[in-house]
């Protein structure tokens, strides 16, 4: 209740003359009966919004938790019942979960690192005046605007097909034998598609960062005798710190949910069964609603833990480096 209280309290005492006095920390103002009434009305008006917010955001998750304690296979309608922690036991002893977790870390992690690196490179190239800069920027963004399923299909049929794919054709010019991408390098295949798609996204964020850097600072650095590499490492990179953090955070959130290239290209083989694909398989191939819900609950918990602990840790490293400059 405290948060909405604060929100409604704001407009109630804002126009009051007492608030205009310059106080470092305004004491809680005494409210007249009329003000209290207005406040109560305001609070009441907020109720529908709170109810809708709770319904919309929390009910699906609560229902998922309920399902995760059910023994429910869609194809066996008679056997539905309370399962206790059975589904969670299956999740942790089945062996699929840890494999899938490591697949998720490998695929998400390498795709993010690669697309940030490529994105930074392209952003540096685009961050200078040249003829056709706008056109070049639009062209570079295209992969990110493409639907993930369409991108996966393009890679499957046009780029990586073993017989008619452009990548194998390019390699054959260099004298390399045709590569069976999906069979021999499934994880790499998925990482390639994701890197191709997310590089423009990283590039956009980093380019915004580069363009907000003041030219005077860089000029001053070069007057002081810093070469382009030194000014990049000691001026530009620390400046980009928070942009990189944001890119990694947003990229991580989006890539954790990745599904299309796996479903279309590798079908979860060879270390590409990420958590989202595993969840899909449990629910729609295994038809085990309870088990899939348990995977879902665990995934949400893990995501919260990763988001709050690991990212904070990562940012701390970045900020201590940034503080030096």
């Amino acid at each position: 209740m405290t948060a909405p209280d604060l929100i409604v309290a704001e407009p109630a005492h804002d126009p009051a003359p007492a608030a205009s006095r310059t106080l470092r920390r305004p004491p809680k103002p005494e409210l007249s009966a009329g003000q209290k009434k207005a406040l109560r009305l305001a609070r009441t008006l907020v109720w529908p919004a709170i109810v809708v917010a709770i319904l919309v955001t929390q009910i699906p998750f609560l229902v998922t938790i309920y399902y995760s304690f059910q023994n429910w296979n869609l194809m066996r309608p008679g056997s539905r019942g309370f399962a206790g922690f059975d589904n969670y036991v299956t999740v942790f002893t089945g062996g699929a979960f840890m494999q899938s977790l490591s697949a998720t870390v490998v695929i998400t992690g390498s795709s993010i690192v690669l697309s940030v690196l490529f994105g930074l490179g392209i952003a540096l190239l685009l961050n200078r005046k040249f003829f056709g800069q706008g056109l070049a920027r639009t062209l570079v963004i295209t992969p990110f605007l493409m639907m993930p399923a369409a991108a996966a299909l393009i890679f499957k049929w046009s780029m990586l097909d073993a017989n008619v794919g452009m990548v194998n054709w390019g390699l054959s010019i260099l004298g390399v034998d045709p590569v069976q991408w999906n069979t021999d390098f499934p994880a790499l295949t998925v990482i390639m598609v994701l890197t191709w798609q997310y590089t423009p996204f990283m590039m956009l964020i980093l380019l915004a960062g580069l363009q907000s850097q003041s030219k005077e600072t860089l000029e001053a650095a070069s007057v002081d005798g810093a070469g382009p590499i030194r000014s990049f490492l000691h001026m530009t990179l620390p400046h980009l710190r928070q942009y990189i953090e944001l890119a990694v955070l947003l990229g991580g959130i989006m890539l954790l949910q990745v599904f299309d290239p796996i479903a279309i290209m590798t079908r979860g083989t060879g270390g590409t069964k990420t958590l989202s694909y595993l969840l899909y398989e449990r629910a729609f191939v295994g038809l085990e609603i309870g088990e899939a819900a348990a995977y879902g609950v665990i995934t949400v918990l893990l995501t919260i833990i990763v988001a709050s602990v690991a990212l904070r840790l990562l940012f701390k490293i970045f900020s201590s480096e940034g503080a030096k400059s």
């Binding site: 066996r76 499957k156 079908r267 060879g270």
Partner: protein, 457 residues
């Protein structure tokens, strides 16, 4: 004091009223949601039927021709909801399993029909079909009818059916001086494939894409003709038996030595692509592939020979699949639904397709009379007679060497099978890539299969 209390109670009332408005508006929202998924109306006056179907060409023809049905049944309108195969499976399973009642007619594969029938989800069409003499239920192809029957109840009727056979490029065989027997063995086929395999042309195309309906459709028939099976008569798993292992070893070795490149990417569509462009000498797959192969635009039309599925220990090794129409028990328009279902699976419909759209577009593999129709036989002379032979020759009650406790050839008719087949086929992808051995993979599969088998005991 009194006044204060009055104000308080007044404002309390107001607050309550506002809250009530808030909650009731949420209630309206929720009611709206439940209304969207609600059932159909009672069958008085005009009826609208909702039909969930798979977006195959034969189903699109049905949608195109539904006007003929609506003309003769002015009270009935049929709405088609066409989906991709996996989406259809998801959507219809969810709707039927949760008693959603969204569909009056559903298109169901032959794997699901017995399972759903046993769950009491489908209307028994047997009595309706037998009461309707014009429908001629005995004309349905016997093995297909058998696969759709559980304890004498016919839970669905076939719209079209297929088996599997071996297709080979006659030009390539002639150029290499090879001759294909009508009933080849797998050893002969492997020999041909290894002889004909070159850098540009695969000796044979065999599905390798994971999935119980992709890789394990052809592979299970190979396992059965090698004498193996998923389960014995008492639902004991037999996945790591010597026969099963030999069959998987044979299949993966053949693909690695003389098969298509990148097997994990290769399913039905990819093989069709490869074979119809003349980039594979042989292809073992569904009989329904013959249509697109002989169609205009195929580089190999007229050059393809069709022979029985290769065998080892059994006489016949083709699979059996049918897309069927069924009526969920949740439908409120079961009589009207049967009117449409019986029309769409009748001889009359087959003749209608033949005369209006062309005889090569007739849905095959559902009725014996289709294969006695001279016009169809003339249009599909290359593959129709052999398709009929195979479809009448397969035995869905005992396709392998030993008896099995389920009816079905390339699948096991239990709910757990799609999960089991999917997981084992994903592990076999590691065998194609050389990351794992057949023994290892099948030992893992044995454990999964035993869990599935225990659920049947």
């Amino acid at each position: 004091m009194k006044r204060f209390e009055m104000t308080k109670s007044y404002s309390m009332k107001k607050r309550l009223a506002l809250s009530a408005i808030a909650f009731s508006s949420v209630g309206v929202l929720l009611a709206g949601c439940s209304g969207a998924g609600g059932g159909a109306q009672q069958a008085d006056g005009p009826v609208t039927l909702t039909l969930a179907t798979v977006n195959n060409p034969q189903m699109k023809d049905m949608e195109e021709l539904k006007g003929a049905f609506e003309d003769s049944h002015p009270d009935i309108t049929v709405n088609f909801v066409a989906m991709e195969e996996n989406d259809l499976r998801d959507a219809v399973t969810k709707d039927v399993a949760t008693q959603g009642g969204q569909y009056d007619i559903v298109t169901v594969g032959s794997y699901e029909v017995p399972i759903w029938g046993q769950n009491d989800w489908l209307v028994d069409l047997g009595p309706l079909a037998e009461a309707d003499t014009a429908y001629n239920v005995d004309d349905l192809l016997p093995p297909v009818r058998e696969a759709l029957t559980v304890d004498d109840s016919l839970f669905a009727v076939p719209f079209y059916g297929e088996s599997s056979f071996l297709m080979y490029n006659k030009d390539m065989f002639a150029a290499a001086g090879l001759e294909m027997p009508t009933n080849p063995t797998w050893d002969e086929v492997a020999g041909f494939a290894r002889t004909l395999n070159t850098d540009d042309v695969a000796g044979i195309c065999l599905r390798g894409k994971p999935g119980w309906g992709e890789l394990f459709a052809p592979l299970t028939t190979v396992v059965q003709t090698f004498g193996g099976s998923w389960f014995d008569e008492d639902w004991n798993a037999e996945v790591n038996s010597p026969e099963f292992t030999e069959a998987v070893q044979f299949y993966t070795d053949l693909v690695k030595d003389a098969g298509e490149a990148d097997p994990v990417s290769t399913g039905f569509t990819e093989c069709l692509n490869l074979f119809s462009q003349g980039n594979a000498a042989m292809w073992y797959d569904a009989t329904s592939a013959a249509g697109p192969i002989e169609a205009d635009g195929s580089a190999v039309a007229g050059k393809i020979g069709y022979v029985h599925a290769p065998v080892k220990e059994t006489e016949e090794s083709g699979w059996l699949w049918a897309w069927n129409l069924a009526i969920p028990k949740t439908s409120n328009n079961q009589d009207a639904a049967w009117e449409f279902v019986s029309w769409a699976t009748s001889t009359e419909y087959i003749n209608l397709v033949g005369t209006t759209l062309g005889w090569e577009r007739v849905p095959p593999g559902s009725r014996t009379s289709t294969y006695e129709n001279p016009e169809y036989l003339a249009a599909a002379s290359a593959f129709a007679p052999i398709t009929k032979d195979i479809m009448l020759g397969v035995n869905p009650t005992q396709p392998g060497v030993n008896p099995q406790p389920w009816v079905g050839i390339q699948y096991v008719t239990v709910p757990e099978f799609q999960d089991l087949g999917n997981q084992v086929s994903q592990d076999i992808a590691d065998v194609f890539a050389g990351r794992d051995t057949v023994e290892n993979v099948l030992n893992k599969g044995q454990e999964l299969a035993q869990q599935a088998g225990d659920a049947q005991k």
